[in-house]
Symmetry: C2
Subunit: 315 residues, 2 copies
């Protein structure tokens, strides 16, 4: 029971489900499990040193024969090394984000790598299309981690893109945790979904157990898009966030904010499980996430929800 | 070609489309046009004196034989008079918002009035269900005007509600302007949609022509949820908003914000067309709205988009 869409045909995968390549969570275990289950697993290179990315790719290749991708944030300091690595290993799909899609698209495509770019607005989607990317990942305000300044929600962003009728696949991202939501996104013009938070909450992700347990307890309004003066990021309202708020109330400068944030805060929270001092990046959909299944179980359940939604004819 | 859902059966309407009862825009012309076209028109009592509401109801009754509703924000100063008026005129549907659904639901229902309550979170939806409302309007972060503090987007909010499986109809609101979005919302558990901004942008709405023309020109990122310390409201980033921002940057108190806002700012902007000094309330979907059709034309087009979406089987 494959699901056949523009996205699955382009990538040669069974289900139009991409696992978001997140920092500190998306290593070889998670990525290979998603690809083995018929989706597209994606390594999160944004939190890896060049040598770690090579190791993760080799480990992933040993765990799956199916295609997987690498997510590379374009503001990454050693970007040239990461680009060289994905070319060397002939990674079939590279997802770029947080930067100009003109920078590497042509070069990657010349090595038969398919390039998807993450956008938060129609404006950036049109730029990505001009840069000749192979697909667009349209990520709304509700998504975890770094996010756009326009604050377009996924529902609004998809309608904006739908009106333009892109020829390349559009993948919906941000606020998706249920198979019926995938069908909803299809009707809004998407041919696939990317899920981050939902895959973070699996046994295979390398997020710290403290962090996963904390996410289970979250409810509505427990995340917020903050630090807009640096780069907008959705995070949990914890003690670290309280100190950000305190700075805001004092009318702090961008420099003071940057110095409070410092380095390694996301690692401290997500990977080391420091719920107090860490920057805890997760999407708004965390209010709905109350279990930590294996990837196999998650995929099976998600596909069942999708099938049920497809069959539903009365509303 | 009726569309049969839980909502249409409950309200006795042809299409599961509710026109949001907005301040300064939703008078008898708009409301009767929507009801005559098979949706549910809703008067916006929030900007009416008691006598004006009576006049609007009488005018509306003279223009349509079909059911229409009245939206009453529960923070309205002369709330008792508005409640007495809708009882006297046997208005079939009352939509309450911005307050406690326990206040008037039982009384209204005892007069055979159906009560819908607007919520921004699952938590408030459960409270409304307990108060025995007949239906829930689930309104996300992207909606125009007053909004919830949790910042749940429509996509996230609908999934949260869907998981709970409400027996009463759930109506999706916020960020909807296209027939395919209605089908998407159906798959997320809704049995109808409420549209505000889309109906504001019709010939029949009483929003000022300056305001409508300005909305046509808006793009992504041109609205923002602001004044969260008073009551969160989505508005256009105009000169009035710039002065709000200036106060924020000075670390202004709630009192200073309240005094800047003053009285009648929304009227000034929306109804009188003062784009500089007015508070210009509109939803994020305004980025998509570039025409000002008649209600009939809008409804026909929306239903055509819905039918096309229904027929689409490949994504």
């Amino acid at each position: 029971m494959k699901i056949d869409t523009k996205l699955t045909r382009l990538l040669g995968i069974e289900y139009p489900i991409i696992q978001g390549g997140m920092v500190w969570t998306s290593g070889a275990d998670l990525v290979s499990a998603v690809s083995n289950a018929g989706g597209l697993g994606v390594l999160g290179a944004g939190s890896m040193y060049p040598e770690q990315l090579r190791e993760a790719i080799e480990s992933c290749k040993s765990k799956t024969k199916r295609p997987f991708g690498v997510n590379i944030p374009l503001l990454y300091p050693n970007i040239e090394e990461h680009i060289a690595t994905v070319v060397e290993y002939k990674i079939p799909v590279v997802i770029t984000s947080a930067g100009n899609p003109n920078l590497f698209t042509t070069r990657l495509k010349s090595h038969a790598i398919k390039v998807f770019h993450v956008v938060s607005s129609l404006k950036f989607a049109l730029k990505a299309e001009q840069a000749q990317v192979d697909g667009i990942i349209a990520e709304g305000f509700e998504a975890g981690g770094h996010n756009g300044r326009e604050e377009n929600t996924t529902l609004v962003l998809l309608q904006l893109l739908h009106q333009h009728s892109f020829k390349i696949p559009v993948v919906a991202a941000g606020g998706i945790a249920n198979g019926s939501a995938m069908l909803a996104c299809f009707h809004l013009g998407a041919s696939g979904v990317q899920m981050g938070s939902r895959f973070l909450m699996t046994k295979e992700s390398t997020a710290h157990q403290n962090f996963k347990n904390h996410v289970k307890s979250l409810g509505e309004g427990d995340t917020i898009l903050s630090l807009k003066e640096l780069a907008p990021v959705r995070l949990i309202k914890n003690e670290f966030y309280a100190s950000v708020l305190e700075l805001y109330q004092k009318g702090a400068s961008v420099e003071e904010l940057r110095s409070l944030l410092g380095r390694g805060r996301a690692k401290k929270g997500i990977y080391e499980g420091d719920l107090v001092e860490g920057e805890l990046e997760i999407g708004q959909i965390s209010a709905l996430l109350d279990n930590i299944p294996t990837v196999d179980k998650l995929m099976a359940n998600f596909l069942k929800e999708y099938e049920l939604a497809l069959q539903k004819k009365s509303f």
